[in-house]
């Protein structure tokens, strides 16, 4: 069967079970958009290409499927770069199709030409420029396979206009592919060794990351930790991988981790890291990170192991297989842990928890941002899909909303991309139309992709924005307060739009309060409105995120919440 390149693209998307793509048309992709017009594929027209990539990313994180984007050449393509780098740092499976000028013009500085494969080489898992129509089918299939396999990531496919207009024989049979990580079949002795080390440990801690969620290993992890009575902490990306309301859960580790999680990691004698890459926001000063402990690291990406933290035992495996295998081993034999010692350790952690819980000081005159999130958690019973922007809003969301299930906390962890939350919420709502999707935002971040408010209205996506509006770039301000003697250089954002009027102008519902007494009612009203709603909470301007590990310090040296009186 002879098909044009444009037809092949949509045939393969159908075979890959893509039901939604996010995009923005332009000159180089006119033919593709004309073909799209004839298909039944859902296309979400964003208002900026960066929004398309973040939306596809949010779609991927909420659904576990590959997110797909389609944009034009030149500026359309360069606008995707931040979104691609965001997905790359957080290992999100995504395929980005970019238009390109005709092959004869490539290299001629043609109108809207840019070397997007060159630009995105360091921030994609892989990318392709399709030079011949004969390679098109196979390349698109391979892009999806690469995006999903092993440690997932974004793949960019650059599609020259003439290649897409050409015709070729289409082979509808996709080739059989092996899984990319089959090469790493761990030896059974490694599992034995891990279990033996856990058995011998007196103060073990499990530290989990986004790899558990990406690898679909949450139920295996939960069973594993509960069977072995292991306290569990997680990185930002790991939130939701283990039930946040389980007594074994310690909350987040790292720079803004809980006191008890950081103390547990500092005092452990066996740290088991699964699906986390141990970046500097987690470890802080590396010499002080689990310094007395043996360390086991399980990760699907070999290059994540021993990159930052030296380990005693490494296992290259996806989390689901490794944990599933060990769970079966534990069941098959009489596996005993030293219960008394383990309970002593868990009690010690509980003492830390009581000594220094996550806290803030309620105030009856001014809204505390943490209070808004606490109320949001109560009101939604923890069942909302939460996206965040980046900064204080993100850390308070991570601390004060408790995530019981994977794929419910959607946030730019590695790259820390401001402007991520709103388009990601739009993408998540596309994937899960019946769920409540809430973007916990700051007034700085929200303005970075605010144009996507139009997208939400156009497609009837009833996303909610909980805006913690402090008129500051809050996290940078906090650093200036603590480390730059309150010289608030360029972080005061008091000049801002009237967010309620702005919401209304876009066709949203806009709500505002500056009174703590109105917080719960306004949240209730917002959540019960079946339309997109922006809730502008005027919060304490100089509230800080605590605990905080100062840059360069070890994670046990935390600056704790500056208590005046306890709640």
């Amino acid at each position: 069967m002879k098909l044009k390149g444009t037809q092949i693209l949509f045939k393969v998307l159908e075979q890959e079970k893509v039901d939604t793509i996010f995009g923005y048309p332009g000159g180089a992709v006119l033919d593709i958009y004309d073909e799209l017009y004839k298909t039944r594929l859902r296309h979400i027209l964003v208002r900026h290409e960066q929004g398309a990539v973040h939306a596809a990313d949010g779609y991927a994180r909420a659904s576990g499927q590959v997110g797909v984007c389609l944009v034009t050449s030149g500026p359309g393509a360069t606008n995707t770069v931040t979104g691609i780098a965001t997905a790359n740092m957080d290992s999100i499976p995504m395929v980005v199709f970019t238009g390109q000028v005709s092959t004869a013009l490539i290299g001629n500085d043609a109108f809207q030409e840019c070397d997007i494969t060159g630009i995105t080489r360091p921030c994609t898992k892989h990318n392709f420029l399709v030079r011949n129509i004969e390679d098109l089918t196979e390349t698109i299939r391979k892009a999806f396979w690469i995006a999903r396999s092993g440690r997932p990531g974004p793949v960019l496919v650059d599609l020259p206009k003439n290649v897409m207009a050409a015709e070729t024989e289409f082979n509808p049979e996709p080739p059989k592919r092996r899984k990319m990580d089959v090469a790493y079949e761990p030896v059974p002795e490694t599992y034995e060794e891990i279990l033996r080390m856990i058995q011998e440990a007196e103060r073990p801690v499990l530290m989990i990351g986004g790899g558990i969620i990406l690898g679909g290993a949450s139920s295996e992890l939960t069973a594993f930790a509960r069977k072995l009575r292991l306290p569990v902490t997680g990185t930002l990306m790991g939130l939701g991988a283990f039930p946040g309301t389980d007594p074994l859960w310690l909350g987040m580790v790292g720079m803004h981790g809980t006191y008890y999680a950081n103390m547990a990691v500092c005092n452990t004698d066996l740290l088991i890291i699964i699906g986390a890459r141990c970046d500097d926001r987690v470890t802080s000063k590396i010499d002080c990170f689990a310094s007395g402990a043996k360390i086991i690291h399980v990760d699907v990406d070999e290059s994540s192991i021993e990159k930052n933290v030296a380990v005693d035992l490494a296992l290259v495996s996806d989390a689901k297989r490794a944990l599933g295998h060990m769970n079966r081993m534990i069941e098959d034999r009489h596996f005993e842990i030293n219960t008394r010692k383990r309970e002593d350790w868990l009690n010690r952690i509980t003492d830390w928890k009581h000594q220094e819980p996550l806290m803030y000081e309620q105030d009856d005159r001014i809204i505390k941002p943490q209070y808004v999130i606490e109320k949001l958690y109560e009101l939604t019973k923890g069942e909302a899909i939460i996206t965040t922007e980046v900064g204080q809003n993100q850390m308070w969301a991570a601390q004060f909303y408790h995530f019981d299930r994977p794929h419910t906390f959607i946030s730019s962890g590695g790259l820390g991309t401001m402007g991520y939350g709103l388009p990601a919420a739009i993408g998540a709502q596309c994937a899960l139309p019946d769920k409540l999707v809430v973007d916990i935002a700051g007034d700085g971040s929200i303005q970075m992709n605010i144009q996507e408010m139009a997208t939400a209205v156009q497609y009837n996506l009833p996303v909610k924005v909980v805006l913690l509006n402090n008129g500051f770039l809050g996290m940078v301000r906090q650093w200036q307060e603590l480390f730059y003697e309150k010289r608030y250089s360029q972080t005061d954002m008091t000049y801002q739009p009237d967010f309620v009027k702005l919401a209304e102008a876009y066709g949203w519902v806009g709500l505002r309060t500056d009174s703590p007494a109105e917080v719960a009612d306004m949240l209730k009203q917002g959540m019960n409105t079946p339309r997109p709603v922006l809730m502008d909470f005027r919060v304490d301007r100089e509230e800080g995120v605590y605990p905080m590990v100062r840059p360069g310090a070890g994670i046990s040296e935390m600056t704790l919440f500056p208590r005046k009186k306890c709640v």
Binding site: T117, R121, P122, H126, I146, D301, E302, S303, E306, K307
Partner: protein, 159 residues
């Protein structure tokens, strides 16, 4: 910290941007490629790359893992010098000065260097040697009137 030289041999897809990916993967993390040799293998779709870099063992480990992650890299071998033959090739241009004429002639003969081009004033030598040997030879030739040379990266083959 020990910063030893390491040789890495790669089999890669023979395609336009593969070298850029390798250079980018290493350069982006701050690792320098000190020497490099690339050519197609008997299978034209596959190229062999031999590169050398400097660093401690942890660095070498990281580089190996980074290279293994690249989709277009088929195989990565860290070369154990005990099991491989290692050579470099140099073309050296020498201005024939009267006082060195006889010395050069003797050296060419005893070291079995090949004269690949010659006129009354200059000659070009083809020299193969391993890296350390080559350093010494080039030092020696510079004292005999060498004006210019082109030196390849290291190439290796398993014994």
């Amino acid at each position: 910290m020990e910063r030893k030289e390491h040789i890495i041999s790669l089999l890669v897809k023979n395609a336009p941007d593969v070298l850029a990916r390798i250079a980018g993967a290493l350069g982006g993390k701050g690792y320098n490629i000190e020497s490099l040799c690339v050519n197609a293998t008997a299978d034209y779709n596959v190229s062999k790359i031999v590169l050398t870099t400097r660093g401690n063992l942890a660095t070498l480990n990281r580089i190996e893992k980074l290279l293994n992650k690249l989709i277009d890299v088929i195989q990565v071998d860290v070369v154990n010098p005990d099991r491989f033959v290692e050579k470099e090739l140099t073309l050296a241009k020498i201005k024939i000065a009267e006082e060195f004429r006889s010395k050069i002639a003797v050296d060419i003969d005893s070291y079995k260097w090949k004269v690949v081009w010659l006129n009354g004033d200059y000659l070009i030598l083809e020299v193969t040697a391993d890296k350390d040997e080559m350093d010494q030879i080039l030092q020696h030739l510079s004292e005999l009137g060498m004006v210019e040379y082109t030196r390849t990266g290291t190439i290796v083959i398993e014994r």
